[in-house]
Symmetry: D2
Subunit: 334 residues, 4 copies
């Protein structure tokens, strides 16, 4: 039985607590939050759980095996470092850290201490993303031409990060998981309409090895919520609408046949427009699968796919994005 | 009665012929197309119309008052110049010309000859765009924060232009018509997946005077057709989905209340999330309204809003986009 | 070359005229309408066509081979009879006639005169209905359990018929074409909210041979337009949404596995919920296909599938529906 | 503090337990279920709760004030009667009972014992239904012409009831709450495709006092889930799509203007087709509101709107529906 301590019971923390509660082989021993209101809510729903105002007390509890850090990114490094130093495996919210040196230091420390880091890239455990990865890996899609994501909604404006640090980690972690081509350069444009020092709208373009590009449309000022991704492949194209209850993924037998028999300067471009197919998607809650996987990784000493290195790769893309943004869309190599 | 000659009976030409046919005060006298198949189609549907293989014969017909040029952009300048020189008013497809010097020369020539130029910016005559302009002009939207358009579909790949010259003129002409802020700089990224010398995907960001930006997502490789525009204003936000039969425009009483009473460093950001409202939209065919308007402009000697100058402004944005694209997203001032 | 005369240039007539105009082997010689406004419209678009105020003059024109009757149902019998007596093939709007004796008399007369009758059951020439028929005929759907159609919109209130005579012929002709089971009984409920003597809402249930039923929800008072049909089969189920531009038909690998190994009183009901598949649908205009088919039928002396007999079967269902409606939903055998 | 005991921890029971857990002034003391698996689940999530295999032990627990009966309808009467006899208020799943005599007996018993009965008509506590009631009560809709509900999905086939007893209580309770006209007669048609003794498809028509009707389309064999209701009023019409995340209710300024100035036989029917408006809907969970309301009713000795009488009215409609179904759609007066 692994004992779990969760730091942070605000927006996402309750889901992590509920998630670990339902897993065999895990026991939620303590929850900590600096906000007494949040702590009270935890205590009402889970009367048997230790409710601690100070994260430090949780981290230093000797019976705890895993510390889940579900707090703003600015606090990640210190909490994670202390947890590792106290011999805890860590489950940590995305983005992993503010900077890549921080991420590297934590990875080194975990390696030295033989502890596991799992960065909460929840999306790669959804049925939808796993299905997309399978379609790409099995060659169904053919070579990938583009990944185009629209991830917009109204708020929540966050005080310590811009819209990129809030929303882009989702796509960056999905791209890192699904796309084999390596990203080589990033460019970003954005605007801060309220002079808060943080962009509320941003457009990111990523160039990859080979003939591939990605685009992210991120917006905290949209009247409607959209979570739609188009992925164009040589053989098939797909639309992933994450807000659909059913039919989240639609795969289109559509594409372009390029015929060069008449020579380079007279390409024949011919359209295929065939059937559409929407595969059945596993609906098991992603967080549940991810937490069970973490418990399994620790028990069987397997390195998780969403380990510190994966977290670091996402942080690197965030850093490049920020640099481009500050330099009016300059192309930044990764 | 104004006599009309239409050059080009390919994709859009038949609509222009049908449109002029239904207008009182206009009579379609001649159609010209270099493709005999197209000419035959015109002749079958309109047995009384003169079907001419050579545009020159149409342009030099002394009874013709208006020449409608519905041909690829590369042919626009020569056909338009000859028409103006022969004393014809011209109705010309968007984009107006390949270059801004060409556009200026035609504008000058028309002025000298006291002839009218109307550039076919059809969209600004739709019920939807007119409603949006009214909402902006009446101050219902408040200051505009952003204009974000997704205009994607599968093909048609065109041999002489890239996806930008095909699709962006729609948005550029709408922005020119609706948005009061002036565009100051453009940046564009794109990719040509088939080595045809023309991008099939492009992402354009436009910076405006004041705190406003626009974004265009253009794609010839999308499995689905999307024509969706988000416009965020200080007071209201709207979604324009042009593929909806009803409810093309939805206006959301949603936004951000920024309260700075606690000083610059402690802004209170507060969300409004109220009702949605979808106004009834005039469904009269835009092309019909536009052609009637052109006949009226000529009869009453009024300069049309979509005159050569409007066409030139769109061409300038296209030129800036091309320049940015060729320089890896360099910011190009307009 | 077959010469065509069209009676009625109101709502649907212009489509029939346009349709015949585009067909090789057919020539629209005359149009007739008692309304001078309508006649004028026809004359403007087709200056070469004979525009006749009196249907009789058109019917008696010796050069005309086919008379298309596109008028209210109350005029069908007289116009059709006169046309057949004058040796014309007839293309006639649905529903064929007001009563089954009228339909039978016309069928007899046509047989005697060796003339063709085609009833304009346009829907069975759509790509969607043809695809559904193919899926049923090929056994893909398995036994059909139900056909459930919602066909509602606002207006048009018609002066001479109720909502059933306006909308039900569509479904009746589709059912007649697609479903192999024979209808055995009909029941209908409805309401006339404005005391006009004609129901504006109606609900029709049809019992078929075997374990099958159909339901029609017809409404002239709906704020939104819906054209949605669910068809449940033993092996597959489908949704046909005729207002969708793409993906009109979605076929679901969903159903019920009934396992009776534990005996009649302990059936195991088990759900299948697999993939969804949306086949590519032929988008050719149905009316075009239907009119070409009629010309072909006449030329090759083939009896059309939508002949007078098909028209009669639909009229019989309408009669039974009316009888049930007048008797408070009494079950009426067909 | 009211102590709660919940009988039944299957499909809906966990929601009732979770709901009462979160209410101040209520304490979940015991859960009972005859299925040990279900009991174990309850115990894992709520270690402090008494988990009882026998409902009787829960009912006879002297500290318990409210018994929530979340079991199949066939068990309702016995459990409710025993609970009332033991002095407990009861919260009971819909439909209240199998028969109206059973419902009347429980109502009498509760009255005698001065205990409260709340029937779980959850839907009338949703933001959507409360908004609809407000629109009707405030006269915004005008006189109601029709209520038309489509409530279809795949499964769950239930062993002890047909599709009507499963799904119709939702609409019956909403109609009872929202519509002022009294229902006077019911007719129902349905089919049992698997010879299980229970219909899996049913169509119900209800006639009301005045010029109003309701229709229910219920189906356990639909490949897609639909929860859509059209309500047509003299002044406004609305669409309630309960599966929409936002914009659940759309109100259309559409309708019919009937002008009888030319006399009864020459009514002018004129269409209004104006704007659409989607009001913001309260998203608080309905069950939470309902349970808090029950606690408040007991504390303040207020009779709930969804009391035994409301439950009885729904049972009477179910009985009439069953009688019609067994008599091939006979019209049954209520």
């Amino acid at each position: 039985m692994l004992n779990i301590g969760i730091i942070g019971y605000g927006y996402w923390g309750p889901n992590v607590v509920r998630g670990f509660t339902a897993i065999e082989g895990a026991f939620v021993k303590a929850v900590s939050d600096t906000n007494p209101q949040n702590l009270k809510k935890a205590k009402t729903l889970y009367p048997h759980v230790l409710a601690l105002p100070k994260a430090e007390d949780l981290i230093k509890d000797k019976e705890i095996d895993i510390v889940a850090i579900v707090t703003p990114v600015s606090t990640h490094f210190d909490l994670a470092k202390m947890s590792l130093e106290n011999g805890k495996h860590i489950f940590i919210e995305k983005p992993f850290t503010r900077t890549s040196p921080e991420a590297k230091e934590l990875i080194e420390l975990a390696k030295k201490k033989k502890l596991m880091i799992m960065v909460d890239h929840t999306f790669i455990f959804t049925g939808a993303v796993k299905k997309i990865k399978q379609l790409v890996d099995d060659g169904v899609m053919g070579d990938i031409y583009y990944y185009d994501s629209t991830r917009v909604n109204l708020g929540l404006f966050q005080s310590d990060v811009n819209v990129i640090w809030d929303l882009a980690p989702h796509d960056f972690s999905i791209i890192d998981y699904v796309i084999k081509n390596k990203p080589v350069a990033i460019t970003a444009h954005g605007m801060d309409h309220f002079n808060r020092g943080h962009e509320n709208i941003a457009y990111i373009t990523i160039y990859f090895e080979g003939n591939m590009m990605a685009h992210l449309n991120l917006n905290w000022l949209s009247p409607v919520k959209i979570r739609a991704t188009l992925i164009g492949g040589q053989k098939k194209m797909l639309v992933w609408n994450d807000l659909e209850a059913d039919e989240k993924i639609k795969i289109y037998d559509r594409g372009v046949n390029v015929d060069d028999k008449e020579g380079l300067y007279k390409l024949l471009i011919d359209y295929r427009s065939g059937d559409m197919w929407s595969p059945r998607i596993d609906r098991t809650e992603a967080l549940k699968i991810e937490l069970e996987y973490f418990v399994e990784c620790i028990t069987k000493k397997i390195n998780p796919i969403n380990d510190g290195e994966a977290g670091l790769r996402v942080v690197r893309m965030l850093e490049a994005t920020n640099e481009s943004l500050k330099n009016k869309g300059k192309i930044v190599n990764i």
